[in-house]
Amino acid sequence: MRKLLMMFLAITILLSGSVMLTSCAKEQMKDDQALMADEKAKKEAEEKARMERERLAREKAIQEERLKSEQEKQLRAEFENKKIFFAFDSAVLSDESQDILREKADFLKQHDDKKVLIEGHCDDRGSVEYNLALGQRRAEAAMKYLTLLGIPSDRIRTISYGKERPINTANTEEAWAENRRDEFILE
């Protein structure tokens, strides 16, 4: 009898012991798992945040780039679209022309990798040949002024088109005034 009891006790103790052991382990495992899950979540959240930051930064950079190139385009467009005009039979630079040339000189100074081609044009009312010569004088007048403002002459080219490339082919004073011009092309 006693032997049986003793064996029963032993087994019970053993069993409960192992039960205790496994439940501990389970507990431990549960804790470990929870811990791992936490860690994982934490890491994911961080990753997400980081990606978000990077995305925002990239977008900002793109926007800035876009803004800069818009400005750049605008400046460039202004440079190329703003012409200077001349009185009939004259290659003299008006005050307004000189102001515009100053703006162009500034642009060229800020973009010292750029060169400019100055085209000289005339209205329709003289001979083909005389106007080729007058157009050349108009282009060179602008070139001389730009060099006075500090742009080296090797960054400037000139060409005359005489009366061959009018903007406005009407036979009116307005049209003729539009055609007596220098145009500036970035190279």
Binding site: R125, V128, E129
Partner: protein, 438 residues
């Protein structure tokens, strides 16, 4: 002699059959006189001399072509031969075959007869010019060549008639070059003196302008932007070869060949100001011809080569000056008008044509080289530009926008008979007139 050695495809043998007749003195036409009386002339229908079937139609074609040439000059009042009292069918072609009274009675002063013979592929054309009141022969020629060279023979005879009347060869075998196109592109064209058969001489899809015939008529100098800037080129019209005369930085424009054809005056801007230089046909600068600040452009040589007209703005606006190479003096020629441009010296040496400001626009004027006898020839109020003389100095070709767009017009040296020669799309400008191309 091997026929193939003869250069022209056409074989034309000139045989002067008759000496110029005696009788009335040679009639001289004063091309500058403002009122030119026209000579009443009649071209009798040419006769078929043989039995070839083509002869009748060829005879009719050729007599019409001679009438057309004579009519172009403005010197002649062409009288219809059917108005005469001659029996045209029975009429002969030599002195004995003509009833001169039948012509003088209707006022004809000069009469042309012609005979056409076609033998195989060969055409023989016999032509005579008679002084009707004197009943004598003035000119007699016989031409032989291929059947389709009849027009050339007519032109040659026409040139002889003009030589008799004016002392200078006619221009019926000459050509006119001009620049045609629009603001996208312009090319050089060459046409007959009367505006027919215009053909493109360049095809660059660029701006190609201001053609100038070399004295031989076989080359044309022109300005083109085909290589990116205004350079001066020359095209040989026989070989088609194009050479670069000057491609210096800036302008290489307004060419003017010397009489020898070996040198060209042109305006360069590569040294700073725009001055006129003399280059050889290899492009090498021989001499600087003007040394002045500002614009110096549009040179035109006097026929003796010792003077040059050109445009300068040294007094404020474009005016015509003359440089005398003997003394080195430069004198202003045009004293009236705001601007005077495009001077061109007559081959006769006695007048300079130019384009000057009229009340409005630009008009064609002529003036004596000493500055006297200024005459205005056009009065449209529009743009009449770039005059050029015929090789005999009797006609002036120019561009005018009187019809809307710019086109090529021609007139007598006194401004009479202004008529349009080109009827193309776009603008036609800057005409230049060659010598007879024999």
């Amino acid at each position: 002699m091997n026929k193939r050695l003869l250069q022209p495809i056409i074989l034309i043998f000139l045989i002067t059959l008759f000496l110029p007749g005696t009788g009335t003195a040679l009639i001289r036409i004063d091309i500058n006189s403002p009122g030119l009386t026209q000579f009443p002339v009649s071209v009798a229908p040419f006769k078929a001399m043989g039995s070839a079937p083509l002869e009748k139609s060829k005879a009719s074609e050729l007599s019409s072509l001679l009438e057309k040439d004579l009519d172009f000059t403005g010197y002649f009042k062409l009288i219809n031969p059917t108005a005469s009292l001659e029996d045209l069918n029975k009429m002969g072609i030599d002195k004995n075959g003509v009833q001169f009274k039948a012509w003088s009675i209707i006022g004809v002063e000069m009469l042309v007869t012609g005979g056409v013979l076609i033998n195989g592929g060969e055409l023989t054309l016999e032509l005579r010019l008679f002084d009707v009141s004197d009943q004598s022969i003035i000119l007699g020629k016989r031409y032989t060549g291929e059947v389709d060279t009849g027009l050339r023979m007519i032109h040659k005879f026409g040139n002889e008639i003009l030589r008799y009347l004016t002392g200078f060869d006619g221009y019926f075998l000459s050509k006119i070059a001009f620049a045609g196109g629009d603001h996208r592109s312009k090319d050089i064209y060459v046409m007959d003196f009367n505006g027919e058969n215009a053909k493109k001489a360049t095809n660059y899809k660029s701006i190609t302008i201001t053609p100038r015939f070399a004295p031989s008529g076989k080359e044309i100098a022109f300005v083109s932007y085909k290589d990116g800037q205004p350079n001066l080129y020359a095209k040989n019209l026989i070989t088609g070869k194009v050479s670069t005369l000057s491609a210096r930085k800036g302008l290489n424009i307004s060419p003017a060949w010397t009489a020898s054809g070996t040198e060209i005056a042109l305006t360069l801007s590569s040294e700073g100001d725009e001055n006129i230089y003399l280059i050889n046909t290899s492009g090498k600068i021989i001499r600087q011809l003007t040394k002045k600040w500002g614009i110096n452009v549009s040179p035109s040589w006097a026929p003796d080569g010792e003077k040059m007209a050109f445009v300068s703005d040294r007094s404020g606006n474009g005016q015509v000056y003359i440089k005398y190479f003997g003394t080195g003096d430069v004198e202003r020629l045009t004293l009236e008008g705001k601007r005077n441009l495009d001077p061109t010296w007559s081959p006769r040496g006695d007048r300079i044509a130019f384009s000057g400001s009229g009340k409005q626009g630009m008009e064609i004027f002529t003036i004596k080289p000493d500055g006297s006898d200024l005459r205005q020839l056009t009065f449209t109020g529009g743009l009449n530009l770039s005059p050029a003389w015929s090789p005999d100095g009797s006609m002036i070709v120019f561009s005018s926008d009187r019809g809307g767009e710019k086109a090529i017009y021609v007139m007598n040296a006194n401004g009479a008979n202004q008529r349009r020669l080109t009827f193309m799309d776009g603008a036609q400008e800057s005409p230049n007139w060659s010598v007879n191309l024999e």
